[in-house]
Each structure stands twice: as C-alpha cells, then as structure tokens.
C-alpha cells in the first residue's frame, strides 16, 4: 500500500515504464481524474450541506449519519481517483488494456439506493400527515 502511495507522488517512477504516449492521452487521463475529483468534492459538499441545512430528523443523529456517510464516500472517491489515474497512465505507457473497475457501478448503486431511501422517507412523512 505504501508503495502505491509513493507511486502517486513520484512522476519519475511513472516515466520509467514503457514509452511516452501522445500528450493528448495524458491530458485526457488528467481531466478524467479531475472529473472524479469534482465528483468526490460534490459528495463532500453534499455531506456538509446535509449537516447544516437539513432539519433535525425523527431518528436521533440520523442527519449526522447521512452527512458522515456522504463525507466518507467523497473521500473514498478522491483516493480511488488518484489510484485509477496512476494505473491508467501506466497502462497507456505500456500499451496495455485500461484497468477495468467496478467502482463506478458500486458508486452509482450506492447513490441510487440512497436516493430511493430518501424518496421513501419523504413519502412516509407526507402520508403520515405531520408534514
């Protein structure tokens, strides 16, 4: 694991494998990384917003639990983004297949399930009659 972290911070190490590709591929990889980073930042912002703009929920600390889940998801997206960037760049330099990943599917499912739970919560409140 420490070796992977060292690899993210060491451009020299990355340059030592394979051949230098067309710079446009590297820039496209960098932009994909930045798009993932913004996805992570949006999740972090969502967590921070949930913590300060949601009214207190009927379940004790449910608001804080939602906020912390979003924050941790955002942090995980950021760490995974830099790892995927490094592995993709390596594959491009070596002319290998790009690394496959289940992460986008897992993230999409998590966000989808979270949204469904919120829809259910809103409906229960509306039908319950106190909202």
């Amino acid at each position: 694991m420490w070796q992977a972290i060292r690899r993210w911070f060491d451009p020299q190490e990355l340059r030592s494998v394979g051949t230098t590709p067309d710079y446009r591929f590297s820039l496209a990889n960098e932009r994909t990384f930045l798009a993932w980073l913004r996805t992570g930042l949006a999740l972090v912002a969502g967590g921070l917003a949930a913590a300060q703009f949601l009214p207190p929920l009927p379940l004790a600390h449910l608001r804080e639990v939602i906020a912390i889940a979003l924050l941790l998801l955002g942090g995980a997206v950021a760490v995974r983004a830099i790892d995927h960037w490094a592995r993709t760049e390596r594959a491009i330099r070596l002319g290998e297949e790009l690394p496959a990943s289940r992460f986008p599917a897992v993230l999409a499912l998590a966000v989808g399930i979270g949204a469904l739970l919120l829809v259910a919560a809103v409906l229960v409140r509306a039908i319950g009659g106190d909202g």
């Binding site: 993210w8 820039l27 932009r31 990384f33 930042l41 972090v44 830099i82 960037w85």
Partner: protein, 106 residues
Amino acid sequence: MADGPSRVSRPDPGLQPERTRLAWRRTALAMTVVMVLTVRLALPLGRAGVALGAVAVLGWSAALLVCWWRVTVARRAAYSRALPLAALATAGYATLGVVVLIRGVW
C-alpha cells in the same frame, strides 16, 4: 514546406491544454464551495470551531496554489505532483468535515 503552416504553430486539434486548464479551474471552484461550507459548519462551535475553520481556509489556499501551479509553472510537465496533492486536499476536507461533525454532536 516553406509555404505550408508550421507544425509547431498549428493549433492543437481539440484544444487539449485549454480544456485541461479549465478542468483545473472548475476543480478549484468546487474546492471553494467545500471550504465555505466547512467554515459555515465549524464557526458555531466556539474556539475549536474557529481553529477548524482556519484549517479549512489554509488548506483551501494551499489547494488553490497547487491548481494554479499546475496550469502555469508546471504546465509543460507530463506528470505533476499537483494531482496527488489535489486528491489529498479532497480527502482532507472529508476528514475535516467528519471531525467538525463529531465535535458538534458529542
């Protein structure tokens, strides 16, 4: 060769460097939103809140410097430490947010 357009001055198809520069700028803007939300959440917590807010502002300054550095000083480098540093800043904001929340509730 002499009358044709020079290879060096030919505009890049797809304007890749400019698109990358704008992507860094959007990322810096997203970081600004996160910094503002962190400070707003932390400030009501008294002295500890002010300290945590100061950490958020200092981290934001450093992150913006990294974004600016990547697209100006280091714009010709194929690979840059700006990428892991930007990821680190995002993970740092996630951690800081969790600390502020835990501090606020318990």
